[in-house]
């Protein structure tokens, strides 16, 4: 899952980026409101962590602007403004969650997963497609109750597919969801990962739509 982190404090930003990476997120970090809005408009982030007291443009203004532009990216507001009116204003402006600093990294990660789950209409913590079950919290995958060992990239790719089950995803979209800034992407990296996923999970799960992209089918095709 690729997350946009908007935080002007260098120590906190550095810590959150490192911590969320440890917990399996791809994190892009911006330090001001204008950059946050620009990135949210440009990239389909799985979710965003937004500080409110940002330079150049206040977090609430950023939030209002992207909601105005019909960008539905789940946004978790992480701020020092702890009064009830602040929380209400934050949520009403378009925040999906409102967390007051300081926060436990694991809790932050869990809240982000919950946001993503809700945004994709998933009632359960675990994502299911055919006989494959993916648990985002423990980052484990089982096929017919047998644990399957996946690399980080393979796991992230499968999660992206499962969150958008039934929709065709282009190679660019998949790359954007998988790689944060500064990470080199080989031109055939996605194909290699998909090949590996098919090998481990069966060839019926991910279909190729030639010239367009790939799609994960939630229900097994009827014989």
């Amino acid at each position: 899952m690729r997350i946009l982190l908007a935080e002007d404090d260098s120590l906190l930003g550095d810590g959150l980026r490192a911590g969320l990476r440890q917990l399996g997120f791809q994190v892009d970090w911006v330090r001001d409101g204008e950059a946050a809005e620009r990135e949210l408009r440009a990239q389909p982030y799985t979710a965003a962590v937004l500080d409110l007291g940002l330079p150049r443009k206040d977090g609430l203004q950023v939030l209002a602007a992207i909601r105005q532009a019909r960008i539905a990216t789940p946004v978790l507001v992480l701020t020092a403004r702890d009064t009830v009116p602040d929380r209400i204003r934050g949520l009403d402006t378009g925040a999906d969650d409102y967390v007051v600093k300081p926060v436990d990294l694991h809790e932050l990660a869990a809240r982000l997963r919950a946001l993503v789950r809700r945004a994709h209409g998933q009632p359960q913590e675990c994502l299911t497609a055919q006989d494959v079950v993916l648990d985002p919290a423990s980052r484990t995958v089982r096929r017919s109750d047998v644990p399957i060992a996946l690399s980080t990239r393979e796991f992230d790719l499968l999660q992206a597919f499962m969150l958008s089950a039934g929709r065709v995803l282009s190679r660019e979209q998949l790359e954007q969801q998988l790689y944060s800034w500064g990470q080199e992407v080989d031109s055939n990296a996605i194909e290699v990962h998909i090949h590996n996923l098919r090998r481990k999970l069966g060839s019926n799960l991910i279909h190729t739509v030639r010239g367009v992209g790939y799609m994960l089918q939630r229900e097994a095709p009827s014989a």
Partner: protein, 457 residues
Amino acid sequence: MTPASHSLQRRLLMLVLGVVASVWVATAVLTWFDARHELDELLDGHLAQAAAILVVQQGQEMGDDNHGQGVDAPSLHRYAPKVAFQVFHEGRLAMRSANAPQQPMAGANDDFKAGFETVQIEGAAWRVFSAYGSESDVQVYVGEETHSRANILWAVLRSTLLPMAVALPLLALALWWAIHRSVAPMRRLGLTLARRQPDALDPLALDGAPAEIAPMVDALNGLFERIGGLIESERRFTADASHELRTPIAAIRAQAQVALGEADDALRRHALNQTLEGCDRAIHLVDQLLTLSRLEASAVPVMADLDLSALVRQVVADVAPKAIGKGQSLELDAAEAVMVSGNATLLTVLVRNLVDNAVRYSPHAAHIRVTVQRRNGQVCLQVDDSGPGVPESVRKRLGERFFRITGTGESGSGLGWSIVRRIATVHRMTLQVDHSAELGGLAVLVSGTLQADGRSH
């Protein structure tokens, strides 16, 4: 309120009534003595007059033969029975009133003595006047029972004392009413205070407070205002502290958690170093918050004469390592001792904040100059730097609590300017932020009279 025994009204009433009653009693006693004296004079005069009449009469009727017989002198007045007389001729009783004894009323066994004498006759006290007749063989005694004199005295005194006795309760009532009315404002003040919420700090409004209470109400209102200010500053401190400490604490927490979960040694070290830096920042922030809070809460600090040049030299020496670390050249121009009246601790904080800001926000290899001098009778402390400066539009926002210039890459507390401004105000100095003509960056000038004779407090 304390019990009624301490009631001001009761005390006033008791005191006034006590004084009035004492004065009345004293007057009565004086009247008693005075009246008795006058009465004695008057009645003694009458006795003497009566004796004189008897002596004259005796001279004419000496030949008459009714020796030793009691003459029924007519009782013409209600006090008359109390009066008796005797006339002796050549030692024999020549005439007496019916109520007079056979023996001479005065000087019975002694030599005859003319004049007044008080004697006991048949158990009663008599006032007797003795006199010689026209010839010395006639002796006249006229006596009067003193008891009757007391009766007259009492009758006289009754007429003055009785109205007094009746008037006292009436006076007490009138006094009670008057005092009750007079202390009403105090009672109202007491009630107003008693009815107030314990945490109410709005000023007391006491309409028509008398001159004696007005200072008390004013003092109380002053106290309320000061406490209100203290609580407000306290409340703001708490709010600010909790708000401003959240970010550094969140950073410390996140970095510590990263360090815990990190397998890579280099990354873990990095996270741990970041944790430490976060702690330093939180400490700096708390220090600044406390300084500002103390500055806002406290009254005028203690001022003493000190050498500002020496003080600045010390601060520059303290900050120099940081400047050297950034490759900056930090220069002090304070050749002469500049004696000022000020608070050393506060001035140190002020100078440290200014120099620290210059070092912190000026880039690598920048030039920073600190100048202390006396100019036109003013003490001037100026800090110039060759840093990026501060745009005109932002300058006036410096000093707002927690206002930070963004994009500097430095993590200040946002309180330094507030502290500097506050300390300058306490020392009646002005703070000017300008473009540095010499070094091209920011120029901060703090100036004031700061007279060392203690006149500028």
